[in-house]
Structure formats: structure tokens, C-alpha cells
């Protein structure tokens, strides 16, 4: 049930909708923080769009330039260090696609070959296809950089 939230009963959906709205309402006042007496200048770092990019929804290709799917989620540990990326793999028009967890270290964001920003996975489709499906709330089985399966409890 947890892995497929769109399948839950109507009642839960209505509840979820209500929660989202109240959350949105609750966040509104925070949008305008009260003016402070002695504002210390906040430290600001500017990151160029060539150096960094958001990766959610980004297209992943294998080193052999096969289309692997898109990044649907990122799994982080207690220190906030990324451990795995969830890739929506395969399928046609959304039918038959599977969410698969791959080790963070198997991903390259500026591949050696191109020198440009793009997401590349050092695994082939052949290695990825048999990986078990990712289910929210259950132990995640991560496909390692060498194609071996590893469990994050």
C-alpha cells in the first residue's frame, strides 16, 4: 500500500488533500519573516549553473549511451549523504516501468567523455533490468557500481 499511494482508499486521499492544503496555509505566514532590529548579513554562495544542477527528473544514460530512465528520488543517510538514486527504468508510455535503486557511486554527473553536465550510470541495461523494484518504507536493495546487490536497512 505504502509504495503505491495512488491506490489508497478515497477517504485517505481526501485526508491527504486536506493535509496538503492546511500545510500550505500554515506555511504562508512564514513567507514574510518579521523585520529584525540588527540584521547580520547572511552569507551567500553563488553556484554557477554549469557547476551544479538539480537532478530530480533528470534523464540518466548508461556509459554506452542507452536511455536508462529518469531520477525519481534520492536516498540519503542520517548525515544527509546521498546513498542511492531511484531511477524510473524502462517501459513504454509509462507501462511496465520499474523503480530501481542504484548506488550513488555508480552515477557520474560530468562524464569524462563529454565534459558537459549530464547524468550517466556506470551500469548497462542488462545489469539493471533484473534489480528488484524499489518500495517506499521497505529495506532498499541497491544496485552497486559493479552490478552487485546491496541492502540498506
Amino acid at each position: 500500500m505504502k509504495a503505491r499511494p495512488w491506490l489508497t482508499v478515497p477517504g485517505l486521499t481526501v485526508l491527504a488533500v486536506a493535509l496538503v492544503w492546511t500545510e500550505a496555509m500554515a506555511q504562508n505566514p512564514q513567507a514574510t519573516p518579521p523585520p529584525q532590529q540588527n540584521p547580520s548579513p547572511p552569507s551567500v554562495t553563488v553556484l554557477g549553473s554549469r557547476e551544479v544542477q538539480g537532478i530530480l527528473g533528470g534523464e540518466v544514460r548508461s556509459t554506452g549511451n542507452e536511455a536508462m530512465g529518469r531520477i525519481a528520488d534520492v536516498i540519503v543517510d542520517g548525515e544527509g549523504k546521498p546513498r542511492a538514486a531511484i531511477i524510473d527504468f524502462g517501459g513504454f508510455l509509462g507501462v511496465g516501468s520499474r523503480k530501481i535503486a542504484v548506488d550513488w557511486n555508480a552515477l557520474r554527473f560530468v562524464p569524462e567523455a563529454s565534459k558537459r553536465y549530464s547524468i550517466s550510470l556506470e551500469l548497462s541495461r542488462e545489469q539493471v533490468k533484473a534489480a528488484p523494484e524499489y518500495k517506499q518504507g521497505e529495506p532498499i536493495v541497491v544496485l552497486g557500481p559493479t552490478g552487485t546487490l546491496e541492502r540498506i536497512p
Binding site: 499511494p5 495512488w6 491506490l7 529518469r70 528520488d73 524510473d88 508510455l93 509509462g94 516501468s97 518500495k135
Partner: protein
């Protein structure tokens, strides 16, 4: 009055384009929203919300059609709403907009399906409806098959949002086709099932359609049996293709995408080839043999999926889905037309059966997912096949023949001259 060739061709194309328009709104929505940096929680929320609306909207949608009595206008508005929601999907992929668009699409779809059946019934009348529904199914499946190919290519070669731009642009040809159907040729009495069949015992309801409410509809044993078997059918059927696609993704790396595409398009070819024939045979042999043949193909497909592992053989087995889809797309509206003759409640009853369909179809992935997680996909296929068998047995034992006896010969006043 015999409907003109122009109107009938207009209906052909309307059904064709409506099927095109609906293609992009299936499972592809999840792919698109993922590409637009949506989180999985929000995507799930949108999908479940539109599922709930699609379910709850069926009966009001049918009732609205029975009340409005202007199928062409209602269908035109519904198509425009769907097109507007496609523009919203393509243009503003943010939560409130997509939320509204998904609800709008689901609500409009609730009306559109019954409207097509009502226009068909209004044009050709109850005696020719079998063949007409077969023809509708042919054009719908050609539309769905073609647009799956075109939209798949769009999503692959261009941005994913191009799928929704194409969908929105389809409004123009859809309206053009709808305009070719002459409104004066749609007999409103026929379109709502008000024309009494010779064997229906209560012709009074033809004069007083309000006499028959939802409760008395549910009281009809044949309708109840039909509804429950439709529910069981969709409970068994809905998850089978996605589950099979997921199995294909694990078994074949290079060709999985092409094989899944073949699994989606292949059955459509079977429907396009055989559905008019199935409609004619339903008039000649009766409804039961056709319905039983279609329902029997489903458990066979399930058990074969459970046992076979070669990906290419799986695609061949998937062609059995074509037989089932042929039968269901013709027999569901046809049986409803039979059962509601002389009641004026054709569209309301379509909504009722549509709700049963929706309940079955929405529970199906949950059930299949649960069994797959626990016991593996062969067990899931077997479970689905077992449910399909229950539905088959129910129809075989309890569903009466609904074809009006010798309707063509005994009712010359209403039947168009062949």
C-alpha cells in the same frame, strides 16, 4: 429515419480522435510529472485524486446525459475540457493546476464514453447497435494504437511535454468530426433507451421515464449479475498488462520497450480486425456465446503468463487480450442497451456499470502488487486468472441471453430499413 452516411462517418472519426486524445492521459502522466521534477508523493496524490473522480463521476455523468438530452453538445464540451486540461499539463506543471486539470479530465471522461454510446444508439437505433458498437471499437482501437505509436515517438524524440501539446491540438479534428454528425438524426428517444423492445413487459416506462430510478435498476437480477461479472473481469484484467510489462522489463534489456509497445498495439490490431464481426455475430448468435468467448480468453491469458517465460511468446499471448477487448468493447454497451430497452435509463445504467468497472480496475493493481511482492509474479498472474474464472462461471451460470427475440423482424416501425 435512416442516418446519413455523413453522420455515420463523422461518428467513426469522432471515436477515432477521442481514443487519440485519451492516450496521453494514461500511465504516461506519471512519467511526465517525474520528468517535471515532481516528487513521487505528489504524483501519487494527483493519480489517486483523478481515480476517485473517475469512479464517483460515472453515475452523475450518465444521469447528466439522460437529463441533458443533447449528446453532441455534451460530447463537444467534454472534449474541449480534456483539451484544456492537456494544455494545463503541458504549460503549468505545478500542483494546483495539475490537480484541477486531472479532476477536469476525469470528470469529462466520465461523460464522454457514455455520450459516444448514446450518440451511436440515437443514430442507428437498438436493432443495429451491435454492429455499430463493433465499428466504434474498430475506430477507437485504430486511434489508440496509432496515437500510442505517435506519442511514444514524440516522448522519445522531443520533450515529454510534446505529448500533451499533440493531445491538445487534437481538439480541432475531434470537433470537426463531431460537427459532421447531424444532430437531427440522433433520435433522443433511442439515445436514452426509451424505445420499447417487443418483449419488454413494461412499456409504460417509455412514457414516464422518471418511473425507473437507480434502485429499481439495481433490482434487475440480470443487470446485477452483469455488473458483478464486469467488476470481477476488471479486477482480473486491469493489472495484467502493467504486470506483464514489468516482467518484460526484467527479462529483456534491449527490446523491452519495443516489446511493451507491441503488447499495447498488438491487441488493438485484433480489435480493429474483429470487432465489427463480433457485433454482427452478437446479433445473429446472441450475446451469450460472444460474451463467454471473450471472458474465457482472460483466464487462459493469465495462466499462460504464469507459466511461460520467453518474452516473445509473452507478446504472442498478449494477443489474447485483443479477443477480450473486442468482446468487452462491443458487449458491455450492447448488453446495457438490451437491459435498458424501454426504460429511458441507458446512460445512467452505463454510469452504474462504469462504476463497477472502475472499482474492479482500481483494486486490481493493489491486489496484483501485493501478491507479486509476497509470492512472485507467476502467483499474481494465477490469482488474476482465478478471479477471471469466477467471473466467467458467474456469467455462464447466471447471465440470461439479453438479445431481444426476433427484434429485426417484429419491429419495423423503429428499425431503419436495411
Amino acid at each position: 429515419m435512416k442516418p446519413s452516411r455523413r453522420s455515420l462517418r463523422g461518428l467513426d472519426w469522432f471515436v477515432f480522435f477521442v481514443a487519440d486524445v485519451q492516450t496521453g492521459f494514461g500511465p504516461f502522466v506519471a512519467v511526465y510529472l517525474t520528468a517535471e521534477k515532481w516528487t513521487q508523493v505528489d504524483i501519487g496524490l494527483v493519480l489517486s485524486m483523478s481515480g476517485v473522480v473517475a469512479l464517483l463521476g460515472q453515475i452523475p455523468g450518465g444521469a447528466l446525459l439522460d437529463w441533458a438530452r443533447r449528446e453532441r453538445l455534451v460530447a463537444g464540451i467534454a472534449v474541449a475540457l480534456i483539451s484544456a486540461s492537456a494544455i494545463a499539463y503541458a504549460g503549468w506543471p505545478i500542483l494546483p493546476v495539475i490537480f484541477m486539470a486531472a479532476i477536469l479530465h476525469a470528470a469529462a471522461s466520465c461523460v464522454l464514453g457514455p455520450a459516444i454510446a448514446a450518440i451511436s444508439l440515437g443514430l442507428v437505433g437498438p436493432d443495429k447497435i451491435g454492429e455499430r458498437l463493433g465499428r466504434n471499437a474498430r475506430f477507437a482501437s485504430i486511434g489508440a494504437g496509432l496515437s500510442a505509436g505517435v506519442m511514444g515517438a514524440c516522448g522519445y524524440f522531443f520533450e515529454t511535454r510534446s505529448v500533451f501539446i499533440v493531445t491538445a491540438a487534437l481538439l480541432i479534428p475531434t470537433w470537426w468530426a463531431l460537427r459532421r454528425i447531424a444532430p437531427q438524426e440522433i433520435d433522443p428517444e433511442q439515445a436514452h433507451g426509451n424505445v420499447a423492445a417487443p418483449r419488454v413487459t413494461a412499456p409504460r416506462s417509455a412514457k414516464d421515464p422518471s418511473a425507473l430510478g437507480l434502485r429499481s435498476l439495481l433490482g434487475q437480477p440480470a443487470l446485477l449479475v452483469f455488473g458483478i461479472s464486469i467488476l470481477l473481469f476488471h479486477l482480473a484484467n486491469a493489472a495484467m498488462l502493467p504486470l506483464m510489462g514489468s516482467v518484460l522489463t526484467t527479462r529483456s534489456s534491449e527490446w523491452a520497450t519495443v516489446l511493451i509497445a507491441a503488447c499495447m498495439v498488438g491487441p488493438q490490431l485484433v480489435v480493429a480486425a474483429f470487432s465489427p464481426w463480433a457485433g454482427r455475430m452478437a446479433e445473429r448468435w446472441g450475446r451469450r456465446p460472444i460474451l463467454l468467448a471473450g471472458l474465457a480468453a482472460l483466464p487462459i491469458r493469465g495462466f499462460l503468463f504464469a507459466t511461460v517465460s520467453d518474452p516473445y511468446v509473452l507478446v504472442a499471448i498478449q494477443l489474447l487480450d485483443g479477443i477480450t477487448a473486442t468482446v468487452m468493447s462491443v458487449m458491455v454497451p450492447l448488453t446495457i442497451a438490451d437491459l435498458t430497452r424501454g426504460t429511458g435509463r441507458f446512460n445512467l445504467t452505463q454510469g452504474l456499470i462504469g462504476t463497477m468497472m472502475g472499482v474492479g480496475a482500481s483494486l486490481s493493481p493493489t491486489l496484483a502488487g501485493y501478491v507479486t511482492d509476497r509470492f512472485g509474479s507467476p502467483a499474481a498472474f494465477s490469482a488474476l486468472a482465478a478471479i477471471a474464472t469466477i467471473g466467467l462461471v458467474l456469467v455462464a451460470l447466471r447471465m440470461p441471453e439479453t438479445r431481444p427475440q426476433a427484434a429485426v423482424h417484429r419491429e419495423p416501425a423503429h428499425s431503419p430499413v436495411p
